[in-house]
Amino acid sequence: MNDDATHNLIEVQQLSKRFGEQVVLDQLDLTINSGDSVVIIGQSGTGKSVLLKHLIRLLAPDSGRVLIDGEDITDLTFEELLPIRHRFGMLFQSAALFDSLSVEENVGLGLKESRHYRANEIHEIVMEKLDMVGLASAADKHPSQLSGGMRKRVGMARAIAADPEILLYDEPTTGLDPITADVINDLIVELNDRLKVTSITVTHDMTSAYKIASRIVMLYQGKVQFDGTPDDIRSTDNPVVQQFIHGRATGPIQVR
């Protein structure tokens, strides 16, 4: 594996996950190359968030495995997972801010607990990241004092705080106004282009998807239904994909 060329960074092999009777992921295969900007789309409840959580082993597969740089992470202990999790940053769909901490402490917590930074360095990094998401003025607020969109952006700043090489964004622009959403899209593109970050973004926002994706993957019924470039997806005649990206209520996808 050479350093510069792209390689298989993440390999999801035959991943299955069920909750009780409900099968969410069904022998799903997906490979992500370093430098990719993959957008995952799919109906609400198809398992996009569940898939992201498997990538950093917040959920354990029922069967199948996840490889990061060829290393199977399925059976690793907490300590063994540490170096892998440090390569990732994750924005949760619910933002998942720590509500006992201020915005500044939220963004800086990972840095502080890693013990690689001094307090003044942490402060500088945190303010820089908050500035990138347009929230430098909210540093002293608590999460309960923020709007939904502001929480999302704090979650974003927290995800990128330690400059991880792989970023997982779960609906980064949901709940944002169109202008702020575009700022976040630009930020995702910039991190991907300039810092060569590999990113995986779950979104329902097709404008955002076309803007940031080098590849779009659609999940449907626990499997990858479609995998291609934004141009591929616009020209595909796959009826499931067509129905989804054009947002039609009638078609092969049935919403009960």
Binding site: L58, R85, G89, F92, A96, L97
Partner: protein, 259 residues
Amino acid sequence: MIRPISGLGSFGVRTVSRFGGMTIMLGEFFYALRKLPRSMPLFVEQMYQVGVRSLPLILIISVFVGAVSAWQAAYQFKFIGAPLRFLGQAVGKATVIELAPVLSALVFAGRVGAGITAELGTMKVTEQIDALESLGINPVRYLVMPRILACLFMVPLLVTFANFISIMGGLVVSIIGVNVSSETFLFGFRDSFKLTDFLAGLTKAAVFGLLIGLVGCYEGFRTRGGAQGVGLATTTSVVTSSVLILVFNFIFAMILFRL
């Protein structure tokens, strides 16, 4: 006929798996103790939250526990015709070996155990615990260890305080309500006081503290669902730790106070 029995069976299975889970968490707690220096600020914060903020409540219950034990002892003495000068002995013994440790622990379970479960349960269902892990922070070291340790240290301290206040409560009642002088009461108390009783009470208190912290954290971490799940977990936490306190108290009685 079948259903209650199979219901009992599944209750049994759930109970066994719950205590299995608690044992595992206890092991993780001891393993995380080696990182105590790193979690020192969190531990100090929990000592304050868990201990200092429980003082007013312990104060109030202890005054009344002492008062009622003096009153009830006097009532029994009168009934069996025992001399009232032994009131200090009776109140002192009962307080130090049973009343202060057990009642403080039960109240502590209701206040602190419930609070721990509600806080960690909310963090669980709002994905904050997942977020900690995603940042490479061990939730056991960051959340569980400081809380259990704070309970382990604070319950014995609170019980020491409760002992003192209860005796004072008993003293006041015996002077005002029973007409036993403070000299007589305190002489009786000193006469019967044994350091080993006091230390046995503190040992029990430490174990109760550990149980409350452990059950509180465990139930918090296994919370599912939304607000309803948090409510359910909190109730389960208080009920489980209260039952465990009373069961362990009986076991302690058999070990420490041999007939």
